[in-house]
């Protein structure tokens, strides 16, 4: 098991190193150049300054050298300054991470609370009316474009009814503040992510429940005289939850990369919006760090899911 963990971690580390080179290389191919942007925003700088600055920051050197220099910096813990926010990168990523976690965890908890019971109920009597209804809801949910769903919720609840704020995390003026105000701002983005997430979880739960229904231990439990409620709650759904863990492992990364589209639509200052703003605003240091963090966490999520599966399911042996 430790051997397995070691080789998995090394494998993930290799992917991470390869991706760091790819992402660093791609950043260099983005439009604009940090020094040209500095020159454009400051009339006191001239062409000679540009050449001097490029040499100073090492931008005149070939890509390979710049990449290695960047890696050395990162290993020393120097992530640089953000051009857009004029602050150290870490000072910006910290709060954005927290905002994304609040949003993503609320939506994840809500979707699971709704979707898992739906999947279980659908699988109790496959092919019946209720199953068809739940299937239809799941299909609709996975087919919805998130940005449109968010926009429609905004149109109905913010523009037409005026019940909820259309964006941001807090009211700007001091009149409304505190928890109630924050919850009102969370309502629409969380609803968007929840509605869009229900479908995949319900479908996975249903499929897993049906796969368990044919197992021997279910027949044994029935033969012992186990009632239907106890059968489902004590035996079947516990095992059916296992495949969901793999799905949640994939979801782990998105806790750190945020919900790019939903955050952009609602102006929620999380990691997703940060990544989009950094990439589109040529903020190299910020975009690099945020993307690397997202990649590392996604890789970690799949390792964690495998470990958790092995821990919960004695049939799985990690070698």
């Amino acid at each position: 098991m430790t051997g397995w963990l070691g080789s998995r971690l090394i494998q993930s580390l290799i992917v991470l190193v390869v991706m760091s080179a790819v992402i660093h290389g791609l950043m260099g191919l983005m439009p604009g150049d940090p020094i040209d942007l500095m020159i454009a925003s400051d009339p006191h700088l001239n062409a000679a300054d540009a050449i001097r600055l490029k040499a100073l920051y090492g931008l005149d050197r070939p890509w390979g050298e710049r990449y290695l220099a960047w890696i050395a910096q990162v290993l020393r813990g120097e992530l640089g300054y953000s051009r857009l926010f004029a602050k150290p990168v870490l000072a910006i990523i910290g709060p954005a991470l927290l905002n994304s976690l609040i949003l993503m965890l609320s939506a994840l908890a809500l979707s699971l609370l709704i979707a898992v019971p739906l999947g279980i109920v659908a699988a109790l009597r496959p092919g019946r009316a209720l199953d068809h209804l739940i299937n239809a809801v799941s299909f609709a949910s996975v087919s919805l474009p998130t940005f449109w769903l968010g926009l429609m919720l905004m149109v109905v609840f913010a523009v037409l009814l005026g019940w909820l704020p259309a964006g941001g995390m807090q009211s700007l003026s001091g009149e409304a503040s505190g928890l109630a105000d924050s919850l009102r701002h969370m309502a629409l983005p969380v609803a968007t992510l929840t509605i869009a997430g229900i479908g995949q979880y319900a479908r996975h739960t249903r499929a897993a429940m049906l796969a368990e229904a044919g197992q021997d231990y279910i027949r044994t439990a029935k033969a012992k005289g186990c009632g239907p409620a106890r059968l489902v709650l004590r035996h079947q759904w516990r095992n059916a939850l296992l495949p969901l863990i793999t799905l949640l492992g994939l979801e782990f990364g998105t806790l750190f990369s945020g919900a790019l589209i939903t955050e952009t639509v609602f102006g929620w200052p999380g990691m997703g919006k940060l990544i989009a703003d950094a990439v589109m605003g040529n903020d190299f240091n910020l975009a690099l760090t945020a993307l690397m963090l997202a990649t590392a966490m996604t890789l970690l999520g799949s390792v964690l899911a495998d470990l958790l599966m092995a821990r919960l399911d004695p049939r799985i042996k990690l070698r």
């Binding site: 992917v15 791609l26 439009p31 940005f147 449109w148 149109v155 990364g253 993307l291």
Partner: protein, 280 residues
């Protein structure tokens, strides 16, 4: 298949969508013709779904935007399936070190945060890749770029499917007989393994089209996909978001078009899976 109602609904919707978008140039008016004296007009006989913030006909923009979205999605699905098939065949049939390398690559790509990565790829500067000005501004380039970047991250599912199938098929007697008769690896892959992979591939490709449409419209919505004035469902929603307070109804149609199209592909793909699944 005929008794599969959801699949039938999906297939009918698809046929209607394809017909409407293919015939768009004959059915609808010029999608880029502006009429600043008729901004945000209500639906009428002349403009079925009204007009947008520049007085352009919404119905005709929807149909023309659908042409772009569907063309991008179908081309990408075929390209991604092709790339995945090639990689899966090589990995599954050759095995050994090549298999190990290709599968680690597949796992690696699968474990990446896709949307952030796509945004970076879509935002790359063509000039730094040595692509000239004239090409850069052409419609074909912006659309082709989207096809390529989505296909570059979208081939993994197909590769795994094909590899698994290739692994089972290559031990069958008829493949071994063909090898004994001196058939080349290429011939075995194309004549014996590929036909066995065809039906799961068709299902996977159909199901992938829905996702590709969602990704493409999200990129266009963020301003990184199809560029205005060319209409696409995604960039029509960007326009709608900018005028959400003055014309909230504008956001309805493009999103509904995306939703129905994705739903249709998912229903059809699911039905196809049931129809082709030999275990049922």
């Amino acid at each position: 298949m005929t008794r599969d109602l959801p699949a039938l609904i999906g297939a009918t919707l698809l046929a209607a969508l394809l017909a409407a978008t293919v015939l768009a140039p004959w059915l609808a008016a010029d999608p880029e013709a502006m009429n600043l004296s008729a901004i945000h007009a209500a639906p009428s006989v002349q403009h079925w779904l009204g007009t947008d913030e520049l007085g352009r006909d919404v119905a005709s923009r929807l149909l023309h935007g659908g042409r772009v979205s569907l063309a991008v999605a179908l081309t990408t699905a075929v390209l991604a399936a092709g790339l995945g098939t090639l990689i899966g065949l090589l990995a599954g049939y050759h095995g050994g070190r090549l298999d190990a390398v290709l599968m680690r690559l597949t796992d690696g790509v699968m474990a990446l945060p896709l949307l952030p990565l796509l945004i970076v790829l879509a935002a790359l500067d063509p000039a730094k890749l040595g692509i000239g000005d004239e090409i850069r501004d052409s419609e074909i380039f912006t659309i082709g770029r989207m096809v390529i970047i989505i296909a570059l991250v979208g081939w993994t599912g197909a590769a795994r499917l094909v590899r698994a199938q290739a692994l089972t098929v290559k031990t069958r007697d008829y493949v071994r007989a063909a090898t004994a008769l001196g058939a080349t690896p290429t011939r075995i892959m194309l004549r014996h393994i590929l036909p066995n992979v065809a039906s799961p591939m068709v299902v996977a490709a159909t199901l992938s089209v829905g996702n590709i449409i969602l990704v493409e419209s999200a990129l266009s919505f963020l301003g990184l996909g199809v560029q205005p004035p060319t209409a696409s469902w995604g960039n029509m929603l960007t326009g709608a978001m900018n005028v959400v307070w003055s014309a909230p109804a504008q956001a309805l149609w493009p999103g509904l078009a995306i939703f129905i199209t994705v739903l249709a592909f998912n229903l059809a793909g699911d039905g196809l899976q049931r129809a082709l699944d030999p275990r049922k």
